[in-house]
Amino acid sequence: MFYREAGDFKTSYREDSQTFPIKFDRLRYYAVLVVAFGIVPLFINDYWANAVAVPFLIYAIAAIGLNILVGYAGQVSLGTGGFMAVGAYAVYKLMTAFPDVNIFFHVIIAGFITAAVGVIFGLPSLRIKGFYLAVATLAAQFFLVWLFNKVPWFYNYSASGQINAPERTVFGVFVTGAQTSAMAKYMFCLVMLTLVALVARNLTRGTVGRKWMAIRDMDIAAEIIGVNPLTTKLSAFAVSSFFIGIAGALFFAVYLGAAEVGEAFGIQKSFLILFMVIIGGLGSIFGSFAGAAFLVLLPVFLKNVLVGTLGWPTDLAAHIELMIVGGLIVAFLIAEPHGLAQLWRVAKEKLRLWPFPH
């Protein structure tokens, strides 16, 4: 009934190779865009923006970035927190050094700076593989956090060692600083996420993405059929870090407003985003969205139930939350190691035949 190819005739190459070839899928995609851009901003308030919507949008960007590296190119990285910190500090330095330039460009440039750092830390991936590489990327995590703590130039010699986002506007509307409205935060992050998702989706189904997947599936075989491992691995690190840098910049400038590097971008952040990618589904853009939504909503939900409804003390609730999150992750991996994206695929397949399965 749903997701049927039947009757959806393609008359040109352009139509044949569009992002969503099935008509129902395409309509659903437009509907999501309309809801996200047209309806949600009308109803959003501070609580929903800060607790759910903005973190979801930002983590989705980071998860897409990490998914490109881990899911498409097969290079496991635990340095995501460090790369997000690079994006945050880059955007901070740019915002304070060039106050006249629009923040949109600052965020993009911060992404490029992070990409350059990512390529440097990606160089060992040419020699090191698997878990050795994963542990090696921890070097990036700890070194970068230490660097931003110890070199005062990065935080403009401020006494507290924190960085604070100055107020900046887009089209005359505040998007950073204390006066920002919930809607402006939401819209700014949403625009960024939409751009990132479009770029990621199209990269992964083109030549670059095929090369990444070839390297992931078996790097020696890929090399033999003419995929250059140097450019492929480094381009994966660059693109991935670019997105993660944007996420870090938004996380600091729009969401937090003020950040201390060890707290905001520590090793826990790296694991959190890796979880989003795994639970969402490796090698799937939709999975990045699903994983981010799941891990943003779960703690909010648990907190509301345990503290709000049952009235338990917050420290006990925090520990039980850890237990439940950990238990759910294990349960999830046992039930569906390919993540929410796989569930979605199965559901689509079922819906195709519904209500006449034979």
Binding site: A136, V145, L316, G327, V330, L333
Partner: protein
Amino acid sequence: MPDIVLYAAEVTLNGLMAGVLYALVALGFVLIFKASGIFNYAQGVLALFAALTLVGIQKGQVPFAHLINAMTGNHYTNFPWEVPAIVAILLAAAVMVVLAIIIEKVVLKHLVNQAPIILFMATIGMAYFLEGFGDVMWGSDIKTLDVGLPQGINETIDTVTFNMFGYGFFIDNLDIVAAIVAVLLVSALTVFSQYSKQGRALRAVADDHQAALSVGISLRFIWILVWSIAGFVALVAGIMWGSKSGVQFSLSLIALKALPVLMLGGFTSIPGAIVGGLIIGVGEKLFELLIGAPFLGGATENWFAYVLALVFLVFRPQGLFGEKIIERV
């Protein structure tokens, strides 16, 4: 002798001692990785959980007191008894064995033949769970662990070195005990794996899962065995670290310190874990003394081990003692 040389010598000795403690954690990793190919991130949390359990049993705490109080409104804290240290250690070891069985039955059994990254993620999930579980069961306050190990400066070394060089070395008694325990533990493990039936089965599984299965070795029993041993090693590491700096959340972070040790030594080599631990322990202390503190603003210990391991791996991707990586299409 110039002062800096003496300082460096003292720091080297202390680094060796710290390295022994890193090696203790790394040992648990290697055991599990060899036997099941699982990269067990939860090893640090196992150490934390073991130490928490030990303190809890020793002090006679009521398990889950906080949770029970929150649900029923009572105010339980402690049983009216204290357990002697040796009994508490045995009980804690028994708890770790039970935990190993539960892990095998609930988690690992269902994840056979999954990709290594999935197993790795599952151990991170387990780490989260155990961390929360330990806190719910025994409370999250910082606890002191005292099982009667000697602590404080070793007077003999202090006096002897003072008489020889005019500068007394500061070496903690606890570190010396830790070094001795580590040597004993490694010897015991070696004897066990070389001369006992289960040990031979363990090595067979480490060598080739399928071949081991085909000669009738029970994989699941071996996994329970190896997780129990890893739990016991974690208990020993937990006692050492807990006596040194109290039982608290940061104990689980030593797992992260053990990772570069593993990379240096190779994931599959027990001697590698020891040598790697010593190199990292000495390296980071010396680097901090000679370069980090005077020129880089200190606190280089946070990242030095990783960068050292990273640079090292670029030249030798399988680590010091790791098996040579042969790749075929």
